[in-house]
Structure formats: C-alpha cells, structure tokens
Symmetry: C2
Subunit: 428 residues, 2 copies
C-alpha cells in the first residue's frame, strides 16, 4: 500500500539534503519571529488537532492495525495507540508550551566595561534540531512545539510504525504555522520510512542539523550517540542511586526510597540501587528492605543485606550496573560517604542520585562531589523531570556535559550571542 | 637526535589512550580542588618559569635553530621565538589567571518550587580539554592555565617545531601542580611529535576528551572541525563586516572603520568588508575610502565605490568571501539594512559584525538579526577578545552555537549541574 503522506523516494540522500536546506531556511526566519506568531502557531495547531481528531484517529487506527498484524508486543501497541483523551492531552500540551515565556531575546547578563562599552549576552535560537524517536506519535507534537517555541526548526523522524499517525499530527502543526504566517518547513516530518533517512540525519545533513535529540530506548540512543557527527542531547540510561547516609531519618528514608524506586519503575529517574551507610545499617537496613519487599519490589543485596532479610536475593557485580526499569532494586551497605560516592562514580550513569541525611555537612559533600546531572538531598530521584523543575515541558534529559545537562526545556534549546553597545569606541 | 623530553614511542595509539585515562583521573580530582590549590599551582608555575628561564630559553633556541635549518618562514620563527620579555609576559599571564574568580561551584541560578524543593544550578568543570595548536610555545602556558582554573584537565599538543620549548614550559606547570598537591597529570603535553597523536585526540581517546580547542591557522582548524568526533570550540575564519548605515556620523564611522580594519590586520576580529548604505553613500563613501587608502589600505570596491575614487581596484565575488588578514578591504554600497544583513548572512562567518549609526531603530534591528557570535553598535570589531570583554583571558573565539560562543574564557570552559534541596519530598 502506498501511503498518501509518504513520498515515493528513490534517492533518500537527495531528499534528506533538501529537508535540511529547507529547515535551515525556515530556521533563519523563525529566529526572528515574534513571540505572538510562535504562540499563535501553537494555539492554532492545538485547535486543528481537535478539529481533525477523526482523521488523526483513523490514521492511528491504520498504524495500530498494521503493527498488530506484524505481531508487535502489547506494550508497543499501547504507546502507539491514540485515543480521544490522549489527543486532548497532546493538544493541551501545545497550549502549555504557548504559555511558556519566550526564551529568545532574553538578556542573560549584561555589564559595562571601563571604556563604556555595554555588553549584553542575549539568548538566540540554536538553529535546526533533529529529533529521532520511536513509535510514540505524541512526541511529534511535543518535540515540534518545544523546538518552535525556542525559535528552532525541527526535523522529526518518528518510528516507522507510527508514520501515518505522526504525519496526521504534523499536518496540524503545519496548519498552525501557516495560520501564524510562519514557514511551513519549520516543523518537517521526514517524508519516508526508509531507514537510510536516519543515517542521513546522523551525518548532520551538510551542516543543516545543529543538534540531535533521540527519544526512545537504549538501542536507539546508543546508535545515535555512536554514529552522530553532530552534538546529541541524551541519556543512555538512568542508573540512579539513593544513599541513606549517617544521620538519615528512617521514616523519610523509607518514603524517599519507596517513591524513588516504585512510583513509576519505567522512568529514567527511577532509583535502581540503594546504598545504606554502615553507620545506620543496624537501625535502617532491615526496615528499608522489608518496606521494599512488602511493596512488591524484588531486592537483590550484598552479603550484609541478605543477613537482615531471608527474602533478599544475592546481588552480583552486574546488578550494580543494571538499570532494571522494573520493580527490582540492588542494595549494598557502604562504609561512609566516600565509599558511597565511589560506588556511584563507578557504576552510575551521571543521571540523578540522592542522599538522605539530616547531616548538612554530608549533604553538602554529596551534592558537591557526585558528578551527576541532578543530585538531590532529602528528595526523591523521580523529580528528575523538566515539569517538576518548573521548565513547563522537556524534550528529554541529558547526561552529557556540553551545552545542555539535566532536563532539556526550551531554555536549553537556545544559544546566545553578545551584543555590544558603544558610542564610537575603538580599540587602542 | 633523541630529545630527552620526547619518549621513544612505538605504539602511539596505546600511549595516547594512557594519556586520556590519566587525564580523566586527574580531572576527577581537579573537579574537587579548592580555589586556593589551583591558584597556588598557577603562582608556583609562574615562579618556576622565571627560575628556569635559562633552561627554557635554551630549549627554545634548539627549536629555533632546527626550524631555521628546515628553512621555515620568518613569521613562523617570530611566533616560535621566546625572549626574556615574552617569558615574563607568559608568567604574568599565569598570575592573571590565578587572580580570576573561580567559576567552579558558582550558583548560576536558584529557585524554589511550590512543593518547597529548592533547585540550584551550579557551575562544574567540563572535564578534559584537548588543545591542538601550532608552534607558539606560549599557548602551552595560556591554555594549560585556563583549563586548570576551570577545574579541567588539559591534554596539550603543540606544533612539532616547538616541542622542546613547550616541554620546558609544561615542566614548570607540572612543578606548580606538584607544589599545590594537585595531580601532575592535570596538564599533560602529548609526549610524541608523531602526527598520529593528533588523530587519536580527534577521535576523543575513548571518551576521555570532552572538547577540543584548536588554536592556529585555517588549515589546522578546518582539519579539526572536519575530523573531530568530539565537540570543538573554534572559528574557522573571521570575515567581519562594518556596516555604515543611514544616520552614521562620518567621523565616528571613519574612526571605527580604520580601527576595525587596520589596528591589527592579522587578528580574527579585523574587518574585511565595509558596507556603506546608499542613504549616506554620497556624503560618506568617498571620505571613508580616501581615509583607508591614505592609511595604507588597499581598497577593492564594487562599481559604485570605484566611481568615487580612481584608486579603488575592482572587487570580485571572491572578495566578499575573503578573510584577507592583511591591509586590504572590500567595499560595497548596499540598499538599506536588509541588504546589508543579507550580505553579511551570505558571505560572513558569524564571528563579529558592526553597525555604525545614530539611528537606534536600525541598531536594534542589526543587533537582533545578524546571526554572529558578536554584534557591535558604534564600536570596532577589534573588541572581539576575551580580555576586552572582561573575561581576563581567553582560549579562543568560537563561532559555533553549541555551549560556547564568542570569546571562550574560564566560564565557557565549565558545565553545570542541578542540586536539589528537599525536606523529604516525594513525587506524587
């Protein structure tokens, strides 16, 4: 079957080069677009999504039917499926992004030099953002909206199984752009399911992609990180720790550990390892383990942990490295904060790590020395989220140290330049 | 002749992997070093440079003799040569960096969420910085010092002709590190002149280089930008413009154009093209051209410019693209600010561009719409410099949009993370 939205393409490389060129041209115009135009585009796109709900759900039904026929897993079908409620939430998401402050043009800092020059550092868009994601059609709207708000053009490449659904949603976004007088190429969907298109994006499309954001499982992120010739905002995994240190309040520790592990086990900010300091092990270890097991969590522990509860399974070296994304936790007793930090630096993924303690000195040391995008004191690791940080929305969480780190919201999708105001100054 | 400082190396790749591993280990320790230790290292290194001046100048004399024997250009010999005065200035440079504020640990911003979580965004080091430069031994000290101040380990690879000089300077830096109790691997010099070492650095040394800064001519920068698998802070060229717009004061325009072009012609912030708006061409074009020619500058103009002064040579399309780095300027009459911006976006290099005008509306438009790292209003393009910006020192100027842009000082050599202070919060 030929899809109306999918072009018959022989030369994928040529088509992708053209996508890149059009994105760059759109980005130039978008960079100068006033806030009102961008917000109008988002609000009109939300309206259009609601108006064309029937067509979008029909496109999605075709995607779902094809995926079922191909025999994919039910969790995959669940992520692929759109409903009235899910589409309503996608549309609301667009309106939420419209309500965010416009980062572009914001003066980050300014100072005056002894010669009278006033220098401003001002936020500008990044340029063109490539987003590569799996078959979750809602990402088409979420990612497109965040890129647009930050003044960037977006090149979106969703999972092949969601092609019809993503195309239908992208059509609504393009309608919004047109209504606002903005370039329709500002949010492009890669017009082919050919996997060669991904390779073309990773090569940077002749300098026409400035950054790539992969959204999806470890396999996708690993490939993008390995092959991309342009910067990538991503995290490969979230092997997050909770360290219950000396001076930890037991009830607080219990609440944080249960929340960090079990609130949602499939998110990157979920805790995977619990470290209990020997100083509090006698009082805290058994109740923490019992609480986890009684809440339905499998506990894999070191020798000391297995001694306090017969239900604890043995942990192997591999467990310290594992992001379970499931109701399983590894537990280890550590000798003091330096051993805890060593463990986290050895096995962790520099995503989100927490300390529980009432000892401010220990907390300060942990926050200063653990080299992770997010470190928390007496707070659950599950707060690792752009919304929880007050960013309004996020396109993902980055564990790299370049440009963006932690939740990537509109602000992290910008660059800056320097604007120098003189009165005729020349350099001696 | 075997150099004492150069190791006999058979397996360059293995040696470079080891350099990378040691740099990463040093970076971890350096990230936690207090300001005092870093400053002590710099001050002690400056002292050592002065104390070992004889040995450094002797090493340099050997480099210079070998380079002369190889028949290199005199400008190359000039850059390679160290003198008492130049070494004194290198030592002072180290002390200047010691005096800079420590960026590491600085709270960039902080805010409190409705649930009481206090979130801080705090500067952290980037990690390991690779610096690839030509035969200017002073860069060994300048780059090493800036990386150290920002808490980063440095892997320095200078030009092969300056190997002895750079090794002698690096020995002083390592002495400073040792005196301060900091890891000596924090500032490493690649221990071989084998060019394969550069390729190894560009590959990122198994993830042990976080960013590469090339310092040198266009050939070096182009190779690094083309081949590096890690982020690069650089500018390929500085094709900078001065646009004399409607409402420009003629005397101010003259002063700025002469300074931007001729103060120093070999720097990346030197102007290469003058754009004169038709609105002021009748009054301003001839005097600006005459002033340039009388100051010893060759002028290559479009047809209209040639009409006002018989000494103007014809400009070709190629001239608009050329970074002369010499006393030559291209001059063109443009129809209004949009045409000026179009010219700059078409031919420029996104480095530094200036508008001269008393019309605030035009200035605002130019500063907002020209997509360059630095845009100036009524100020010379030659202010494109970290020192002039008040950064104290710079490792280079970047024209990319990721992470660093414009002058790269200690602050731009840092990353950040989020530190979340709670009182037991869990996520609902």
């Amino acid at each position: 079957m030929t899809l109306a939205a999918e072009r018959q393409i022989e030369d994928v490389a040529a088509v992708m080069r053209d996508v890149g060129r059009r994105a760059r041209a759109a980005a130039r115009r978008l960079a100068l677009a006033p806030r009102e135009a961008k917000d109008t585009a988002l609000v009109e796109a939300a309206k259009r999504l609601r108006e064309t709900e029937g067509a979008i759900l029909a496109a999605n039904a075709a995607d779902v039917a094809a995926a079922k026929a191909a025999g994919v897993a039910s969790s995959f079908i669940d992520r692929l499926t759109l409903t009235h409620a899910r589409l309503a939430s996608v549309a609301e998401g667009l309106e939420t992004v419209a309500d965010l402050a416009d980062p572009v043009g914001e003066t980050i800092s300014s100072w005056t030099r002894p010669n009278g020059l006033r220098i401003e550092r001002v936020r500008t868009p990044l340029g063109v953002v490539g987003v590569i994601y799996e078959s979750r059609p809602n990402v088409t709207a979420d990612a497109g909206a965040l890129c647009l708000k930050a003044g960037n053009a977006a090149i979106l490449r969703g999972g092949t199984d969601s092609f019809r659904s993503s195309a239908a949603i992208q059509a609504a976004l393009v309608h919004g752009l047109a209504e606002a007088g903005l370039p329709e190429d500002a949010i492009q969907l890669v017009p082919t399911r050919d996997r060669a298109a991904v390779g073309a994006m990773l090569s940077g499309l002749d300098g026409n992609i400035d950054v790539i954001v992969p959204r999806g499982g470890k396999g996708l992120v690993a490939r993008v990180q390995e092959e991309a010739r342009v910067p990538v905002f991503a995290h490969l995994e979230g092997n997050c720790h909770v360290y219950v240190a000396a001076g930890a309040d037991l009830e607080m520790a219990k609440a944080i550990v249960l929340n960090a592990k079990l609130r949602r086990t499939g998110v990157c900010g979920a805790a995977e390892t619990l470290l209990v300091d020997r100083a509090v092990a006698a009082s805290h270890l058994a109740p923490l383990v019992a609480a986890l097991i009684e809440a339905g969590c499998e506990v894999r522990g070191d020798a000391e942990t297995r001694l306090v509860d017969a239900r604890v399974l043995p942990a192997t070296e591999e467990d310290w490295r594992t992001e379970y994304l499931d109701a399983i936790i590894a537990v280890r007793v550590v000798d003091g904060i330096d051993a805890a930090i060593d463990h986290i630096e050895t096995y962790g993924s520099h995503h989100t790590d927490a300390i529980v303690t009432d000892d401010e000195r220990l907390a300060r040391k942990f926050l200063a020395e653990v080299d992770s995008a997010i470190v928390t004191h007496n707070a659950s690791t599950q707060f690792a989220d752009g919304g929880e940080f007050g960013f309004g929305a996020e396109i993902g969480i980055a564990t790299g140290r370049m440009h963006a780190r932690g939740p990537v919201g509109v602000e992290q999708l910008t660059s800056f330049n320097y604007r120098v105001h003189g009165t005729g100054q020349t350099r001696p």
